[in-house]
Symmetry: C2
Subunit: 199 residues, 2 copies
């Protein structure tokens, strides 16, 4: 025997969460059943609602249950004429946390990966093209991840924007603040040298 059906079902379902295996799922189940049914119930409702209602922002494709996400709905964020292109909603939060950016975003929800069947349309580049045509932003800041796929995606978008009168920039690559040169990999060091600036 294991446990009763409902308890077993909950332990199994919890394992769909990343980083949760059978032992943690069991611990979570007992914790909720023994000590915190109210939170467990709330979590159940939040999950059901979010899975059913959360869609994508009509303008920037990030997650939201409204037609427009809070950033796109804020007219002040459109004043700078900058659009930052990122791979995922988590990247939006990371950039927002830096507090140094007051433009808008465009979320690809992935990167170009032809082998996985992710072409330009799957990551919404048709939508980005329409956005450039309609909004005529001043600058497109490409903030895709510094991986092979991220770089390829950035290059593809840069090529796509040629001759459209929009400035296209890529975020700087180099040595992270607080790191030690000794432990930085060669490619990053090479990029930080080639991207050096006059003082």
């Amino acid at each position: 025997m294991k446990f009763s059906p409902l308890v077993d079902e909950l332990i199994k379902s919890l394992q769909c969460l990343p980083g949760v295996g059978p032992r943690s799922a069991q611990r979570m189940t007992f914790q909720l059943l023994e000590r915190d049914r109210v939170s467990g119930h709330k979590l159940g409702e939040a999950l059901t609602k979010a899975m059913a209602d959360v869609g994508h922002c009509n303008r920037c494709r990030t997650f939201t249950e409204e037609p427009l996400c809070p950033v796109c709905a804020n007219p002040k964020r459109g004043e700078s004429g900058q659009v930052c292109v990122v791979e995922s909603p988590a990247d939006v939060l990371a950039i927002e946390t830096s507090g140094q950016y007051d433009g808008r975003y465009f979320v690809l929800m992935g990167h170009l990966s032809p082998l996985d069947g992710l072409g330009p349309d799957e990551i919404g580049l048709d939508k980005l093209e329409a956005l450039i045509r309609e909004e005529a932003p001043k600058e497109l800041i490409l903030a895709t991840n510094p991986t092979v796929e991220g770089e390829a995606t950035a290059q593809y978008i840069a090529d796509m924007c040629k001759g459209r009168g929009v400035r296209v920039s890529r975020i700087a690559h180099g040595v992270p603040v607080g790191g030690e040169l000794e432990y930085v990999d060669g490619t990053t060091l090479a990029l930080s040298l080639s991207g050096r600036r006059d003082l």
Copy 2:
């Protein structure tokens, strides 16, 4: 801004799970929204159902949504006349996994802890007393945790059973299999010496 209300709510709710902080909750939320809405929906339903319907077994107090848990409902498990007293449903699973026990259980759902307001009635000792009177088991195996509270609880139950004609035993304490003597603490070593058996 953070995310939209439903997404924020889900990230916050996920943090009621043990071992889940803001970063993991965010990662879980995006993983479910991006790649696995079906599992997310299932999890939501499993949670809501389990929180509402799962109660305690009428006989052994473990978690179940039926009047009796699978072990208590199985007449074969009553044949040995043994009742193993454990602190939590997870302990039941641990003992079941060993495959060496075919009696029934009694789950205290905690241990005696007067400072936290957990007296004999809160851990169901009135129910255990009634069970001993009605079922007249041959043996009570006390398998509470080898902690101060667990030992005190075991002692209390042993005292309670005196003169009732039921054999009361305590699981053995000693050096765990696969461990090295060098790294075993002094108390455990002392117990393993005092509990030595003739070969």
